[in-house]
Structure formats: C-alpha cells, structure tokens
C-alpha cells in the first residue's frame, strides 16, 4: 500500500516535471498554471474544510491578503513582488489567527456564515482603504514572462502544499482533525482541545491560500478588491473545486481544480453566451449525483465492489 502510494507520487512528480516539455503552447501552459493555483488553494482549504469539517466561506480573505501583500510590497517598497511569496502567507496566517479565535466559537452553518461575513468585511475594507489604493487595485509589471518559469514555481508551491497537508493529515494532527469532523463531543472526551486543533488546521490553510494569492498576483499582475475578495468567484469556487474532486482526499482538490479550469475554459471558448449556464447545470448535476466528489465517489464504488457482504462477525447473529 505504502509502496504503491510512493510509486504513484513519483510518477506524478516526474510527469509534472516533464509537462513543459510536452506542452509547449503558452496558452495551454497558462491553463495548467491556473490549475496549479486553484489546486493549491483547494488543497489548503481541504485541510480545514475536508479533513477538519470546518467549511469556510471566507477563504477569499486569505487569498486576497496574499495577493495584496505582493502588490503592496511592490507599490510601497518598490521591491520585487516575488517577496510577496514570503510576506503574503505570513500576513494571511497572522490574520487567520484572530479570525479563528472568533469564528471557531461557532459550529456548522453558523461558522460558515461567520466566515462568509468576514470575507465580505475584508472586501469592503480593501475597497475603501486608501493604503490599498481602494477600488483602484494594484497593477504591477511582471519581470519574467516565461510561462515555464511560472509553471515550475506554481508546481513547487502545489507540491509543498500537498506535501504539508499530506504530512499533517498523516500525523496526530490529521487524526485529531478528522475526529473533530466526525464527532466533536467524542473528540473532546478524548482530550482533544478542539478549538486549538481547528486553529492548527486554519493556520497552514490560510498560509498556503495566502501563498497562492501572492503567486497569483505575480502571475496575473493585477489585483483589486472586487476580484481578490470575491465571495462567489473565490470563496465559493474554492469549495466547488474541493467538492468536485473529493473532500478529504489527497488528490481531490487537484483533480477538482483541473476540471473547474478546463471545463470553464472549454465552455467559455465554445458555448458563447450560455457558458456559465452550462457550468451551473454541471455543478448541480455533479453535486446531486456525486455528493462526495469524483474521487470520493470512485473510492466508495471501489470499496463496495471489493467488500464482502456483511462484516466478519455477521455469522454470530445468524447463529443466535
């Protein structure tokens, strides 16, 4: 089992490293870079939402802060926006901490709504504050234009995010997170400080979302509050990406991101005015028929096929 995983990871890694050799067209490579960005955010969200069960509707806040960090460094200190890759995630993490303290007092839908409200608060603040140039946004001029370069940076970020979440999930923290998702009372009774562990999950989640935001800023070279802190186009699409691929799975968010970006672009390029409509219909269909995402549904199917009928102790009941 372990060897198989390792093998798969190695193959995936080699394939990923070779992508720029196979895909030379900058347009396709651009799509792949977008996938990397969304896969990173999705993976980061998945740690808190998928494994920890804390569904955040406000991750745009961390994304936006990451993006703005890169932009503002460039604007005010006139240093390379690449420093944003350092500052962005740190800023997002620092902001996440008090947010966690506030919102984790709430459970379930109340938590979701509080995060939603916080995301909106950031949007309004960034729209009106002058230090962030308000609604005007921040425009930078990218120094590097080679898509291959961005690809490898994006790949590195995703790999780091995947590795970190994988490590966390397969450690004590991961066990604790899943147990909090499954039953918070039981978790408490086992000595798990649930709020602390939710925050422990939130911090890396915000960190990598902020990192992705900073990278996004470097790549797209422009940010404004309407875009970076967008409820529907960022916060909710993150959840969609994770749900499409499969929550609480290692590769789910990456697969979800690929589907989201590729289908979105294919629809946009081919369906004209109906493209968002078709996308919306697809969302409804997938959620209704694959409530655990593509990976989740496939593994369930696989398990059903493999599993023997009943459980090993079944005979005991029949003999009574």
């Amino acid at each position: 089992m372990k060897n198989k995983n390792l093998l798969f990871t190695m193959i995936a890694l080699i394939a990923a490293l070779a992508v720029p050799l196979l895909i030379k067209a900058p347009y396709q490579l651009h799509m792949v870079i977008l996938i990397l960005i969304w896969a990173t955010i999705g993976t980061a969200w998945n740690l808190l939402g998928g494994y920890g069960g804390q569904v955040s509707f406000g991750h745009a806040a961390f994304f936006g802060i990451g993006a703005y960090s890169a932009g503002m460094l460039n604007l005010y200190l006139e240093i390379s926006p690449w420093w944003g890759l350092l500052l962005g995630p740190i800023a997002a993490t620092l902001i996440a901490y008090p947010i966690g303290l506030i919102c984790f007092r709430l459970r379930g839908p109340y938590f979701a709504l509080a995060m939603l409200a916080l995301g909106e608060i950031f949007r309004i603040l960034f729209t009106n504050l002058s230090v962030t140039q308000g609604a005007q946004g921040i425009l930078i001029m990218p120094e590097i234009t080679s898509k291959v370069f961005y690809y490898y940076i994006g790949l590195g970020i995703l790999a780091l995010t995947l590795l970190t979440t994988y490590k966390i999930v397969n450690s004590k923290i991961g066990y604790y997170l899943v147990s909090i998702r499954e039953d918070q009372d039981a978790a408490t009774s086992l000595g798990i400080p649930t709020t602390t562990y939710k925050i422990i999950a939130l911090l890396p989640s915000a960190f990598y979302t902020g990192l992705a935001g900073a990278f996004y800023m470097n790549y797209v070279a422009f940010v404004d509050p309407k875009i970076a802190f967008n409820l529907v186009n960022v916060s909710i699409m993150i959840i969609l990406v994770v749900m499409l691929g499969g929550p609480a799975t290692t590769w789910g968010p990456t697969i979800g991101a690929a589907i989201y970006i590729i289908l979105g672009e294919v629809f946009r390029a081919t369906l004209g005015a109906a493209n968002v409509l078709v996308f919306g219909l697809l969302v409804c269909v997938i959620i209704m028929f694959m409530p655990n995402g593509i990976i989740g549904t496939l593994t369930n199917l696989g398990r059903l096929l493999k599993q023997k009928k009943g459980w090993p102790g079944g005979t005991k009941h029949e003999s009574v």
Binding site: A25, P26, Y27, Q28, H30, M31, L34, I124, T127, N128, G134, A135, Q136, G137, L139, M141, P142, T145, Y216, V220, A221, F222, D224, K226, I227, N233, E265, R268, A269, T270, G272, A273, N275, V276
Partner: protein, 383 residues
Amino acid sequence: GGQSTAASADVIKVGIILPLTGSEATFGNMEKNAFEMAYEELKAAGKTTIGGKSIQLLFEDDQGKQDVAKSATEKLVNQDKVAMLSGAYSSASTNVIAGAAQSMNIPILVTTGSADDITKKGWEWVFRGTAAPASKYTVALWEMLDQVIKPKTAAIVYESTDFGKSSATGFRAEAEKRGIEIVYDQPYEAGAIDFKPMLAKVKNTNPDMVFAVSYLMDASMIVKQSKELDFNTKLLVGGGAGYTLPEFKENAGEASEYIASSTLWVPSVTWPGAKEFFDNYVKKFGKEPDYHGAQAYATMHIIVDALNRAQELNNTGIQKALKETELTTIMGPIKFEDWEGYTNQSKPYTYVVQWQQGKLEVIWPEAVKSAPHVYPVPNWGER
C-alpha cells in the same frame, strides 16, 4: 474558438476581448455590435482585405473577471495567433489584458478601460484612442466651470470603483488648484437602494455644485432621491458613465431634467459619421447606443486604418502604423501621443451635456453646443 494553431496565410486576425456574459455584458454586447457593424460597413467599402488577406475578428468573453481576461488574452495571442488585440471594457480587465499584451509584445488598442494607469506605465505596445484617462473626462467641464459657474464649494460623491476613484481624484486635484472648497467627499458601494442618508448629509453642506460619478442605475437613484429630498444645488454634474445613457432618463424620469454630465460622445456631436452611426445602430439593433458603442465603432475604424497602412503585418509593423495614426473618427481626431506622463494616449475630446426637455443637449464646448446651458438650474419645485 480558434482551431488553427498557426496563423493562416490569408487572414489577419484581430482579437477583441469584451465582457459578453456577467454583469457588464450590456456594454460588452453593445460594443461587440458596434465592432461588427463597423466591420461590415468597412467590408462593403472594401477596406477589410489587405493585400489579399482579409481581416478577421475573434471575440472572446472575459465574463468581467480578470483571470478569465488573462486566459482569453493567452488564448488569442498564443493559440489563435492574432496580429493585434482590442476591446477590454472594465479598467480591471484592461489592466490585465494590457499588461499581458505588453509582456508578449502584441499591440493592443484599448476601447473603453479608462483607468489613468493603463497608459501611464510607459507600455509601448498599449494604445488608447477612444477612451480618455478617467481623470481627463472633465476637461470640458472645467472650462465651463471656470467660465460660467465659478463654484466656491463642491461636493463629490463617487462609486467605489477604479473609475469612480480616478475621476474623483482628478476632480479633487483640479478643485484644489482653483481653491474650491470640497465640502463633502465620499465613495459609496454601487447597487444601494437608498442614497438618502448620504444625500441628506450633502444637502446639509449646501454645496454650489455636486460632482457625482456613478454607474448607470446608481445615477438615476441619486437624482431621483435628490428630488425626493428636495435637495437643490445649482448644478449636479455627472462624471461620465451613468448620467448620459438612455436608461438613465428612462429610470430617473422627470428627475433627469437639467442634470448635466461630462461625456466623451453624444449622437449630436459634429464629427462626420456620428449621426449615421447612431441611426444605423438604432435601426439594426433596436436600441440606442451610447458612447461605448461609439468607442467600439471608432476603434474598428482605427484598427482597419492602421492595418491598411502597416508596412508589415507583424507586431512591430502594426505598432508603427498605430503610432502614426491620424484619423478623424466619430469620436473625433485620433492621434497617439505622449503627454503628461501618458504614452500612446490620444488626447480626448470631452463634452458637457445637459438633459433639457428629455433630450441630451451638448452645452459645452461653446463651439459645438446644441443648446445653451441652463444655470443655475431651477429648484425641483419649479421644474
């Protein structure tokens, strides 16, 4: 979508990125219509075939989102191999599209996006002809203010968007120069139902004039509610966008009377072809075009003109041809110049218009006015 990855020998592709879905689609589609209308007219005049190659327009939808705008740019440039780009509606998308074009050395002629920054970055591949930098929308207005109105105090309200903010910044700076006291200066979030709290406060400051930068529907909400509050000021001037559109009058009704606005274009301008454009558009699409349509129409003309003059149909050839443009369009003469820190920016012609008896009349510059200005405007009760 484009199927060919290599540039076909017999077409010159022009990529145009517009918001064809999403909340900005009204204007995106209006511009697309105008582009196509101009294209057909130019085709009939035989101008779209250059040395055996015909010009082909490729429209891409950016959904009003900036990462999609980036994807669309990538697709047009790298997959469809367009010779040049145009379009870009919102400032946000324009920023991204122009930045990407610049980094890929592809000439782009911006149609509408008007944030000052776009032509202030020294980007040599980025041209802006039919759109003024937002802070320059008010050139004509200031002439008129200086000569006729001479306000002592002014209030500024503006939507919290890039355009609103740029416009307000420009107005504020000019007012400061003249020692006009700004008694109220605040942004608002577009889409509000009730502007009365803000307007009541403006009313309390009793300004000589109000400068308001609003999107379409906020504009009509603001004047309607000013009327409801019986808030009288000597002149309410819109900073472009919302206050000149047909929908504004439709929704604001009587409250639109005597509202003034600076604008880039009205059907009654004297530039050749303007009236024909307006009439033909109405005939063809059953809807009145506003200055966005005119921008797209004029842009198509500039593109065809430049392509016809280009010595070589590659990026540098087209860039050079654009740079040498001297063409009078329905938006006025277009010439890409470097001035006041702008590069490749045509000097704008702006107008002040005023709604009089339900018609949008040009009241400034004097030379082209279609009706005398009404100032100070009568109180609401007397209109």
